[in-house]
């Protein structure tokens, strides 16, 4: 049985993973955390597609929560720490996503499934998995679990901070609220708050036929929780969960006073009653009717209201100590405004520019240009000596390749047309793409794919050949195997000190294959830089294969070329201005008429 240990949850430092995103719910959880005095948001990560971060407020301060496209992409360290989840995806995706959480999160205590319309078989499969992994799952169709003063997991208790005050969710009370209905759990929380007893915890088990945490489990959690002195239960017609509660009462495993309401007497109006709001709210037999279950629980010792008003009166008549109404300043949260953009790179602090948390002047005084470039491009405060050295050489090496290449040509033509520095530079830069200068990133993608998927170099070459594609990073117009490119030798030499050079090794192995086809299909400068950078980042900066794939996705490996070659483009502009030949025009014999 998946047990919920409320006392342990009160003491737990929550680290919540949200699968799917529902900003209003997540913001409400953060507001609850903040108003209850937590230093950090309990929600640590989101698994969803479409973006890498979501912005929320923690108090009045803006925070970002990382978003990963799958659980696999969540960093191992974070997976180790996650102890709770909220699953907000649709019913049809619940089984797969939740099974994965149960299997892959070693510290998982439990979680909540928000979606309704979860097939019965899937709910029962999760019930079995939860049991095996000693974790609990509230739902499907659960709005969550709230423990006043400690934990809010889901929309339960409201999404506006003023609702927390109205329901006194800042102070632990004494009545456990358990409900099959998500709306009614909040209604009853409010009744319990108004009665003065306060809520010890509230749990929406959900209105599905097989709630994974059953009402019985919830009752046992309330019984075991020292803070809970009484239980308010809301059930409905349909299903036999109440028979298990009656059994607990009869066998004295449930001894705390319990007041209840079983909704659905209205079904007696119908020969064939309609499907009421929740999936389970359909009595299969007279045994499952609201009045039968009311009588059953009454006989077992619970006080079950014949009407909702009776039930509310039973709550008010409980003999408990009233608790203080603890209010927090929620007004401060009502006029928050999100920034227009967010930046993790640089910002002003007391009028001084800081880059990645370091004073710019300090950076400039103590570090090389290459260090600053790589630090900023990677968004890392520190980069290794190897990275710095590699970048420094590449920045120098790529500075120009003569006036013949497309980019320089465009800068030259633009300069001769009388345009200014920035226009001429831009004309050159705008030429960079898949056929000019963009080959480094493409080569990096190829080497990375080969290494991550363990592709045999021969197979990779065959694959490109069969698709009639060139392999970026391979081939040169001038250099051949017997007339090697001295620059390539130098680049490869730069990473010689690394323990492992799997990308360079792979690139060389591919070259060995292509050379069997043709003598000029050698590893070129682009391919060598791509491999060397991959090896350096992997070995000295600790980049994982997934993180390297992200860099490829963002075209990172072309950045050094863009930066370095900008010098060349500007130099060609100044050179042309010095020569000043006037506007460039092609002669008639330069154009072939087709």
């Amino acid at each position: 049985m998946s047990k919920i240990d409320i006392k342990a949850l009160r003491a737990l430092e929550p680290a919540v993973l949200s699968v799917g995103s529902h900003p209003a719910t997540l913001q409400a959880i953060l507001d609850f955390d903040f108003l209850n005095g937590r230093r950090e948001p309990s929600v640590k990560a989101i698994v969803a597609s479409g973006r890498k971060h979501e912005r929320y407020f923690f108090g009045t301060r803006e925070v970002v929560i990382p978003v990963y496209e799958s659980l696999k992409r969540v960093p191992a360290k974070q997976k180790q720490a996650i102890n709770l989840f909220v699953n907000l995806v649709s019913g049809r995706r619940v089984l797969n996503t939740t099974s994965e959480l149960i299997a892959k999160l070693p510290k998982l205590a439990g979680g909540v499934i928000f979606a309704e319309r979860l097939p019965e078989r899937h709910a029962l499969a999760l019930y079995d998995q939860a049991k095996q992994h000693d974790t609990w799952i509230a739902g499907g169709a659960s709005v969550g679990l709230v423990i006043p003063g400690s934990l809010k997991l889901g929309a339960i208790g409201g999404v506006e901070a003023s609702q927390f005050t109205a329901s006194n969710l800042f102070t632990a009370g004494q009545v456990a609220v358990v409900s099959s209905s998500g709306g009614m759990v909040n209604e009853i929380i409010r009744v319990v708050a108004d009665s003065g007893w306060g809520v010890s915890f509230a749990l929406a088990v959900g209105g599905e036929r097989f709630p994974i945490v059953s009402p019985r489990d919830a009752m046992l959690a309330a019984e075991a929780d020292p803070q809970t002195k009484a239980i308010a239960y809301f059930g409905e017609l349909g299903g036999t969960d109440e028979y298990e509660i009656a059994e607990l009462l009869k066998t004295k495993r449930l001894t705390k006073p319990i007041v209840a309401y079983i909704a659905g007497t209205v079904a007696e109006l119908f020969e064939t009653p309609p499907q009421f709001g929740h999936a389970k709210a359909m009595a299969g037999s007279s045994k499952e009717s609201a009045s039968a279950k009311r009588q059953l629980l009454n006989e077992a010792g619970a006080k079950v209201g014949a009407s909702f008003a009776d039930f509310v009166n039973y709550i008010k008549e409980l003999e408990l100590m009233t608790i203080d109404k603890n209010s927090q300043d929620t007004d401060q949260l009502s006029h928050r405004q999100k920034g227009l953009i967010s930046s993790s790179l640089s910002y002003d602090v007391d009028g001084e520019v800081q880059i990645l948390g370091r004073d710019l002047l300090d950076l400039a005084e103590n570090h090389s240009f290459a260090f600053i470039v790589m630090s900023m491009l990677l968004g890392k405060q520190e980069v290794s000596k190897e990275t710095e050295a590699f970048a420094d050489f590449v920045l120098r090496l790529l500075v120009d390749h003569g006036p013949y290449v497309s980019g320089a040509m465009n800068s030259i033509v633009t300069a001769r047309a009388g345009r200014d520095l920035v226009s001429s530079l831009s004309a050159g830069l705008l030429t960079i793409g898949p056929r000019f200068g963009g080959a480094i990133n493409e080569a990096a993608g190829t080497w990375l794919k080969g290494v991550s998927q363990n592709i045999k170099p021969a197979d990779l070459v065959e694959d490109f050949a069969s698709r009639k594609r060139y392999i970026s990073g391979i081939g040169h117009r001038k250099y051949r195997s017997d007339f090697p490119d001295p620059r390539v030798k130098k680049i490869i030499g730069l990473t010689e000190g690394l323990k492992d050079r799997k990308f360079t090794d792979f690139a060389r192995a591919v070259e060995a294959e292509t050379l069997q086809k043709k003598g000029n299909l050698i590893l070129n400068v682009d391919g060598a830089i791509a491999a060397g950078l991959l090896d350096t980042l992997s070995q000295t900066e600790g980049y994982s294969l997934e993180e390297l794939a992200d860099l490829v996705d963002t075209e990172f490996f072309n950045a050094l070329f863009v930066l370095s070659r900008s010098v060349g483009f500007m130099a060609h502009f100044f050179d042309q201005r010095r020569i000043d030949e006037g506007i460039f025009r092609l002669g008639d014999d330069h154009v072939t008429k087709l």
Partner: protein
């Protein structure tokens, strides 16, 4: 939503398929064109059974099962039953059998496994022999006390699981050697499974012959199909006096219960609810349907109860804007019919939502009582009934 009755034709097709036995049954769809051809294709020398196949209870008593028919009689039965308003019929080969051979078997999905109930005293009187029923939980191993051949039982259970059944009852069941004959079978399938691969689809789900759905109910079904939020509407009494516009699966039942508990069940016009934070437009469309039903009712005094608990995340301001927009469209008629509106609701932006509602209802003179969480959820019913003078 949840368990739905599957047609007997589909259930048996799936079960026989899993058993590796041929199924000699035909489905006739009275709304289709080819049912005549199916009947004409039957063997003139054989005898048949004709059954209404749409989840009707007590078919034998109601005369909806015709035994030992020849081809001509099948045609006559089909015409009569279609004329009586039934749509789906099942035709099967008629088999003579000894009542003493009638067994009973049911499978139900429970939390801890599948519960099998079995009796060798099956047939119509099975309930009289309840104490002879063998009940056991199937745990993947052979169910020991049940006399059905293990392989066949396993095949039935496999079909049960693969097709997301929640409940299956075969009564009577005839077993001769390894051959099973499922004379009558009723299956309930999980309607949430339609997205996943099963041997049935939406078209195989059956509802008892009931009144035609009203345009308002159809409109709400369509709305529910298209929206992330939930909507339901069921007309109970078209000429009722008490109309419900409720939010929340649980709270809506609490309010409906109160109508029943106070003895106004006869006056209750509808049940339904919206939940899951619908937007302005969706709430407006939903309210339109309730308003339309309300205006059609011939009852002399009519009230509208807009009720709901303290919502967790459904925005009261937005949803009430939608409600008001719909009421505005019909306000002339609503005022002419002196309809009063009673409101009890809480949740995000409740202050703004309730204030807007109060402002509007008072302005047009339809305000009965407007309250937030300070009023007990169910008390709004008594206030409305008192105002309507219902007894």
């Amino acid at each position: 939503m949840s368990r739905k009755k599957l047609s007997e034709f589909r259930a048996k097709s799936l079960l026989y398929d899993s058993l590796g036995q041929a199924y000699e049954g035909w489905q006739l769809d009275g709304h289709g064109k080819d049912w005549r051809a199916v009947v004409e294709g039957l063997d003139g020398d054989k005898r048949y059974v004709v059954k209404v196949d749409q989840a009707e209870k007590g078919r034998f008593k109601k005369g909806l099962v015709k035994l030992n028919r020849d081809k001509k009689a099948v045609m006559k039965d089909a015409k009569e039953l279609f004329a009586a308003g039934y749509r789906y019929l099942l035709v099967e080969i008629y088999r003579e059998h000894d009542a003493a051979d009638e067994w009973y078997l049911s499978i139900e999905r429970l939390r801890n496994g599948k519960q099998l109930s079995f009796s060798k005293l099956g047939g119509v009187d099975v309930e009289d022999h309840a104490k002879d029923m063998i009940v056991e939980t199937y745990n993947g191993r052979q169910a020991s006390k049940i006399a059905v051949p293990a392989k066949s039982l396993k095949a039935l259970i496999t079909a049960f699981d693969d097709n997301y059944f929640g409940f299956l009852e075969i009564n009577p069941l005839i077993v001769k050697g390894n051959q099973l004959t499922l004379l009558d079978a009723a299956a309930e399938a999980d309607s949430e499974a339609t997205f996943f691969e099963t041997g049935w689809n939406e078209a195989d789900l059956r509802q008892p012959k009931s009144r035609e759905l009203t345009p308002e109910e159809l409109a709400v079904q369509e709305l529910a199909d298209k929206s992330q939020a939930s909507f339901s509407l069921e007309v109970i009494n078209p000429n009722g006096s008490i109309f419900l516009l409720l939010s929340g699966g649980g709270a809506s039942v609490v309010v409906a219960d109160e109508v029943f508990n106070l003895g106004f069940g006869e006056q209750l016009a509808n049940y339904g609810e919206y939940s899951g934070n619908p937007n302005f437009e969706e709430t407006r469309l939903y309210t339109e349907q309730i308003a339309s039903l309300l205006l059609k009712s011939q009852a002399p005094h009519k009230v509208l109860i807009i009720g709901g608990g303290v919502a967790n995340f459904t925005d009261v301001r937005t949803t009430f804007k939608g409600v008001i927009a719909a009421l505005q469209v019909h306000e002339d008629q609503l005022i002419r019919q002196s309809v009063k509106v009673f409101v009890r609701r809480g949740g995000p932006h409740e202050k703004e939502g309730l204030a807007a509602m109060k402002h509007y209802l008072e302005q047009v003179g339809m305000a009965g009582y407007i309250a937030g969480p300070e009023l007990l959820l169910s008390d709004i019913v008594g206030l409305a009934a008192k105002d309507g003078g219902f007894k």
